[in-house]
Symmetry: D2
Subunit: 346 residues, 4 copies
């Protein structure tokens, strides 16, 4: 049994970590922090947790925090994470960081898209926490940079193709649609019910979204050369779920049979990737609440393009579920421990 | 480990039974039937179950069915159930019936609201499957009549009050609101997305809904005299959840303190009832996906009324979850086995 | 052609006034104010108004404001309204006030539910702007207190019954459900998409909602004696619409035929009240975007109760549409001018 | 004043024609047909029309139909339209056909995607009813083929660019998302509330949707050479609205300034196209209920691509509103007559 600290428990990803961990056979939450809600039970902030996670949120200095748990999930905004993580590591703690602070290996790229980095010495040590790509490195790591939600959906869809040279890297377009929980729980007009409900819109179009360099870093690593993508995020009137529709031109010689083989070779044994049959397409509601990534694709012979479709629950496989999966790997637990929730439909 | 048959697996309650049972430590689904989808895997009808419940649906004669499992959930329409259940019982099987066929103890009342009953000899044997009221009787039963969704939400809210004479039975009004999954999965214009979305409406107003006699039967049993209620169902643009707002005049001498004691005495140890603090009101989204019933109330001194508010997930505590709870009791498993899913928010 | 000022144009009711008035044959918006968005075109704040209401919002002292229009809609919070309205009237302007400040005729009641009143001398002059009850008084008024959304839905449903003594006043229970636009456009966690979507909840239960005294004032006036009601508001996951389900015990001697006559006598010629046939129930989606109030009822003979159901669009008949209706009456325009929008479905 | 017949009044586009036409200054509906609902008032099928369009639906032979109106909207499925339209034309009537039967000029293409054509002699006469491209031809026509919803959103977005050679035709990818009303009002499991709500999915991926040849026909006509596109439709959990995100590689020498000029030159005077400022993106909720098409774009210099975003209400500009716009042109009315409805938000 491991003692777990959730730093930043009052956001949606914090609450989701609690939802998952209270059913985890090897972990127990021993401390949860929140600046805004210090002194209040987690189950008062999130009434769905009543009777299940009644822990009182605290606002503690790092030194005290370190006495309370062995592994920490830092579910805080970028910038906050980079200031906190070094102290946790120095105290011998393991960290799964859900912010963006340790995802980019290139300091210059990080500082171009975010702000100056106060802990850049950790950038090389941090492991990008996508188990399907980096399982071995995660196992030995003390700092896992949990991937962004959009990148998870796009990288998982393309990795087997890029690794095999099955698509032309310069033709990649990712049209992604996300549920509103991705925007967080801070009060703002733009995510009020009346602004989002019964509507749909793109945002941060044209190389404006901060997940772009993260996507490109990982696709480039897989492809073995620099990849640039066009990535367009959209806001769906749903709570959870990302669906990415990804376009690329097929390289000569690749057809349904060979692509099937690539996906099966890569993901056939993955516990959280489900490959759909030809003609079956993913839908966000079929992975809702679970750690699954469903993947499907179609080839359009008239244009020579492949259309890859992936879907995840953005706060499970796109955040807290993947974080627990990473914890399981780091701690040597069964990788699926605590993650057996069946998707939730209707 | 018990072998389970789901009769009528292609409706929402059938799928929900599967969602729950695949994580049950003591039960495994060994047969699932569907007339419409015979020959197709459950996970093809319900893609969220992919990789978790890939069992092929069958259309079997009762005799064969009986060879395939020890306990059956009959998730079929009324009328179908009454024709099937006697054969299952005759073969020595246990039955949890999710239809309305065995809920009403008075044959005349059943036939007034439904149609002639072909198995009326079982009406007295069947136990009304509300564990909080009939746990002992359920334990020894071979035929459990799983309660309706609206009745569950209303009876749980009023039972402690009626039993203690805390409210005037002739003043009860239940204004209930249900998610659309309660209408089932049959294709019909009235429950199309465009007809329900962004809207709200009452239906079957004024003693027209078939749950009325069921509610009155159980409230009368608790009160020890005949109770008539005004019950108004409404259709919410949500998938899951019932919230009942129930009004009654307080009997003299009852105040917050005494009412609190009544609820605590009755439900303090119940694993699936959560009593909310004064000033905290229930919301469907805080029980979604779980087997909880959340209960809260407020007294309006100016009118002498109590307003009781209850909420459940209509296809969990209002159907399949309660059915599994009943199975656990019937089979002597831990009552919460398989039902540990934390509510799902946002 | 009359010149119109909208004070508080950046809320949902302000935007809705603009939506209606740009198609009004006798009115034109000449000034719109917003403290927060001063200097920005209305169509930038509300992009649906692009090309239709491109007026720039201003933040003006009252003196300047008065030079810019002849009639003002004050779509501002209570307290703000009471400080502004006297100056507008002093400058000879007509005012339709959408706040609560001039709705309650009894100063003590106002101050009990709100705060001290700075313009109490106007309480008796202000006319409660429910045209179906006070058309004549509105016609001659310079200050109309536009009714609250919940009160509109409840008073219209009960007025004909109470006036005729058809129901027992002490038995009235109003169970009301409102769309989220009623909560306004201010950023707050409670009305974020993820908090409201796919959920349903009561709030301010038990004599806690400020519309209670307004409802009681008007029902008492119609009944000719003091009426106390139990009123429970609920929050629906829809943008627009209120549906009130109202319960009362019928007085002896009243049946469907007589009740039909009462409704027809009262509303038969009303342009914005639609009486539904027996067995047909209202739904919010059938009045959405329009100024209609749909009314239906059912008698439950077993309990002697009548169930009255009414629905309105809370920001049209419940706010801005009714305000324009009042303007039409005050100015002697056709009462339906600018209000011909057909409800919007699906 | 012209007499209008709506053939197929009981679908969503039929109801929407009624919603628009009851406020049209020059047209009145004199006959509405429905096989399924013959004998029932339109306002009983669509209660939002109560008091506004109470016309009784009929099921008439063509000969009688022709005596009842001068211009017909045929809002019927493909195949039904091709059998009916010749008779209406032979009787001297004008026809705006909302089906797909007369949109494709090439018989072979039609028969490849649909079925044999019984009225192929009319294919060359029919005018593709996109006023922004074919206003003059529409004016003189007796048979207008009203465009599909997806094609309208895509063609309007690309026409100015293709006409000027600003994009590479072989690089076009259209990722489109549609509200569920596009699926019609027929009862089917796939569009039940519970199947669509809180979810999102692609469908008919990879050259499988019948709007593909229509899109390609019109883009080819504008480009002056054969254009093939990759078109992916998705289903949104909203009632109305299409948003298309369209990708293409810019031709050398085109930048924001030149593209702005192209759009302004083409659409600057169009009453129903709104060009958004740089950095402002369209959203379906800002055109809802109106006949507008909002267009925006962004250039990604890193990849040399342009991302064009367009949005329409699929049953207004994508169907019934555009049909009325075509009627206005055919009949010589003001093109905006009856179409002044301001978009409906929130």
């Amino acid at each position: 049994m491991i003692n777990i600290g959730i730093v930043g428990a009052s956001g949606y990803t914090g609450a989701e970590l609690a939802r998952i961990l209270v059913n985890h056979p090897e972990a127990r939450i021993t401390v949860a922090t929140s600046r805004q809600y210090a002194g209040r039970p987690l189950s008062e902030i999130f009434p769905h947790l009543r009777g299940r996670a009644d822990l009182v949120c605290e606002n503690l200095p790092v030194a005290e925090l370190c006495e309370r748990a062995d592994l920490f999930f830092t579910a805080v905004p970028h910038k906050t994470a980079m200031d906190l993580v070094p102290d946790l590591l120095a105290a011998g703690k393991k960290v799964i960081d859900l912010s963006a602070d340790f995802r980019l290996r290139d300091l210059a790229v990080y500082e171009e898209w975010y702000q100056p980095h106060s802990s850049s010495h950790l950038l090389n040590e941090a492991v990008y926490g996508l188990p399907e790509l980096y399982r071995k490195q995660i196992a030995g790591s003390r700092l896992v940079a949990n991937p962004g939600c959009y990148p998870t959906s796009i990288i998982l869809g393309l990795a087997p193709l890029l690794a095999a040279g099955a698509i032309m890297p310069e033709t990649i377009i990712a049209d992604s649609k996300s549920g509103t929980s991705g925007a967080g729980r801070a009060a703002q007009t733009g995510t009020l019910f009346c602004e989002v409900h019964d509507g749909f819109r793109p945002y941060k179009v044209g190389r404006a979204h901060r997940h772009t360099p993260e996507i490109e870093q990982e696709l480039s690593a897989v492809a073995g050369k620099q990849v640039k993508v066009t990535f367009t995020p959209h806001l769906l009137p749903i709570s959870r779920g990302i669906l990415s529709t990804i376009y690329a031109s097929l390289a000569p010689g690749f057809d349904r049979k060979r692509i099937d083989e690539l996906y099966r070779a890569k993901y056939g044994d993955e516990p959280f990737v489900r490959l759909l049959a030809d003609g079956v397409f993913p839908a966000t509601q079929y992975v809702r609440g679970s750690n699954y990534c469903d993947i499907s694709y179609k080839i359009d012979p008239a244009t020579g393009r492949i259309i890859v479709m992936t879907t995840i629950d953005n706060i499970v496989k796109g955040a807290s579920g993947q974080a627990v999966q990473n914890m399981n790997i780091v701690c040597g637990f069964a990788e699926t421990a605590g993650l057996g929730v069946v998707p939730f439909f209707p």
